[in-house]
Amino acid sequence: MKIRLQINGNTRELETTPTRTLLDVLRDAGYYGVKRGCEEGTCGSCVVLMDGEPHMACLIFAPAAVGKAITTIEDPDGDRPHAILRALADAGAVQCGYCIPGMALSAKALLDATPDPNEEEIRGAMEGHLCRCTGYVKQVEAIKRAAELMREEASHE
């Protein structure tokens, strides 16, 4: 079967079977930033945004994503890396990096809705992500810094 998905602002017509998850279909289409982890909704590696909200792509039949605006880490948002990615790099929050695409997208959903979050809100938004390299401290710092960067960028527009 063919399904038509809205991915990062583009319409893509993709071949799939009903058995496949959104994770499977996105990776087959070359969106390798969507990582395959636990495949049971625990680790957050496969998180994508659907209509701006973070979802585990391993728990979704691909046809159920039709009509939703899907955002992956490949979304070219402007001519330089997104403030969240710059902040994660600057804070040294990335070691192996496997968890980062999902974390960055959950952070984007948080910061788009809550431009000045407190630490509890940041940790709440990161709940569904496991990182086995770090202790999460630098990711939390990075998201605080990203919030500042995004507010500065918004005030210059």
Partner: protein, 284 residues
């Protein structure tokens, strides 16, 4: 799996469920996918509910809140109507999995999956909610306290679909609380989960009591005998301590991978005591 069907009309879904071998009903998939992954099996035919508008929405008519079965945990958490009419349910939904699961998982799925550790049944038990089941044969309401006949055995015929939940709103002045104990704050399946709805009369004695716990037996348990015992008493520390003992004795927990029976009995008692102590503060 061979077929994935996502009808837009309820009658289409009910027709499919009325067939000789009905499809597997899929709401958010947050419970079903891990089960399929763990068992390396998938159903041959899935009926996905995600396009059924009749299963969405949160509305209030008078003192009754109506929740569509496909309302997500995030929607329950954020809804001012739910926060006012059943605050323990809003609190429970905020503890399911993590944000990313709450955006996907649904009220109806949490109930129909039938896990004795599910987080949403206890506040629905104490609110005396009813579930609305539909089939081609018609519609009926079942009190949530009668929904679970045994371990993962629901009072739902295989051609029936859980369409909505109806909740009597919390009366003003009453206290409703939710408490969950898990291994960590996120992505934890409950060791003990409970809710209460309690009220005092003008003399400061308990005029209404309802308490329910999950993960302490084969099904969610309403502590009706304890509730009857509490009515007419003052919420003193002594009553709280006796209530804790009665609650610990009433539940039927077991040792499993998440916790032990002894720990669960102890925690149930401490939670009940804390609620009674808090109730007493309403009086001042």
């Amino acid at each position: 799996m061979k077929t994935f069907t996502a009808p837009e009309r309820l009658d289409e879904a009910l027709t499919l469920l009325g067939e000789a071998s009905p499809p597997t009903v899929l709401a958010g998939g947050t419970d079903l996918w891990p089960q399929w992954t763990a068992t390396k099996t998938k159903p041959t035919h899935v009926l996905s509910l995600h396009r059924l508008e009749e299963l969405r929405g949160i509305t209030r008519a008078g003192d009754i809140l109506r929740l569509g079965a496909c309302v997500t945990h995030s929607e329950l958490t954020r809804s001012p109507l739910v926060q006012a009419a059943c605050p323990a349910l809003a609190a429970a939904a905020a503890t399911v999995g993590a944000t990313q699961i709450q955006n996907r998982g649904t009220l109806g799925g949490n109930l129909a999956n039938g896990s004795p550790a599910a987080d949403l049944p206890p506040p629905l038990f104490t609110a005396n909610a009813e579930v609305e089941l539909h089939s081609r044969r018609g519609a009926r309401r079942v009190p949530i306290t009668r929904l679970y006949r045994g371990y993962r055995d629901l009072e739902r015929e295989r051609d029936e679909l859980l369409v909505a939940v109806h909740i009597p709103a919390l009366p003003s002045g009453a206290l409703e609380r939710f408490w969950k104990v898990g291994t960590r704050r996120a992505q934890a399946i409950s060791k003990v989960v409970g809710a209460c709805r309690l009220a005092l009369d003008e003399k400061g004695t308990i005029s209404h009591a309802a308490l329910a716990f999950g993960s302490v037996g084969p099904v969610t348990m309403a502590l009706d005998e304890l509730a009857s015992w509490l009515v007419g008493k003052e919420p003193t520390p002594e009553v709280g301590e006796k209530a804790a003992q009665l609650a610990s004795d009433a539940v039927q927990p077991m040792d499993d991978i998440r916790s032990t029976a002894d720990y669960r009995r102890h925690v149930v008692g401490r939670i009940v005591k804390a609620w009674i102590v808090e109730l007493a503060t309403l009086n001042r």
